[in-house]
Symmetry: C2
Subunit: 121 residues, 2 copies
DNA sequence: CTATGTGCAAAGGGTTTGCAAGTAG
DNA sequence: CTACTTGCAAACCCTTTGCACATAG
């Protein structure tokens, strides 16, 4: 548990949004100017593999990281890009039943237009 | 409709698998050695935006392209990486109902271990 | 002490871009 | 003809790697 890892974890814990490695790097540099991007990635990789933080792959863009480690799905606004967490309880059981086979996990991203974006049209 | 675009489309139509841009490039070069990667991407982008072919973003790896343009979901074996198409009819309506708002679309990838990979353990 | 983590710079994979030359319609 | 497409190389973004040095425990 190095100073760098502690700082990165703290940044994630204090944010209620999803953060990219770049954003975390920027925020970390404010407190610890010597920190390197490689260190940020090292720690994000280590912590997401250890299940301490969550990681979200996004289509085309940079991965996002979040403090939540609970299983959840994502709601993405195609207008403004805002990403929020949602849950569809029972969905996994239903998918398993429909497929008729064991499931390791699933990734679901629902695309929408949020209220603001919808009214802006 | 250039010779290049026709060739790329033909390659996709003749394949029942998902193909990466790299694989398409390789296959296209066999018939048209002068073709460039940029041309392959140009055409794949144009055709997937036009809805003529399908595009699948994969976590971390290269995007895959497929002839099907019908809406469907994906089943990915975590063991061998094989990607197959599946459908969960009625899922969209159900997601819309649970969320209580309009949905543009959704992306669902179900992770599994296929029979072969499961028995190999 | 010693294994592990750091910072740096350079490399990597996948994709896009700028531009001069070529081609479809 | 003229706008669009090609091929090429270089650039791009995000992420990883190699390595000498520093540090946690």
């Amino acid at each position: 548990m190095t100073r760098q890892r502690e700082l990165i974890l703290q940044i994630l814990r204090q944010s209620d949004r999803h953060l990219t490695a770049d954003e975390i790097f920027f925020l970390a540099k404010l407190k610890l100017p010597s920190i390197a991007m490689a260190t940020v990635y090292n720690n994000l990789n280590a912590m997401s593999e250890a299940g301490v933080i969550g990681r979200v792959h996004t289509d085309g863009g940079a991965d996002c990281f979040e403090r939540t480690t609970e299983k959840h799905d994502h709601l993405l606004c195609d207008g403004c890009g805002r990403l929020t967490n949602v849950r569809f309880p029972g969905l996994e059981a239903q998918l398993r039943e429909t497929l008729g086979q064991e499931i390791e996990s699933y990734d679901l991203t629902v695309h929408c237009l949020c209220r603001e974006c919808r009214s802006r049209r």
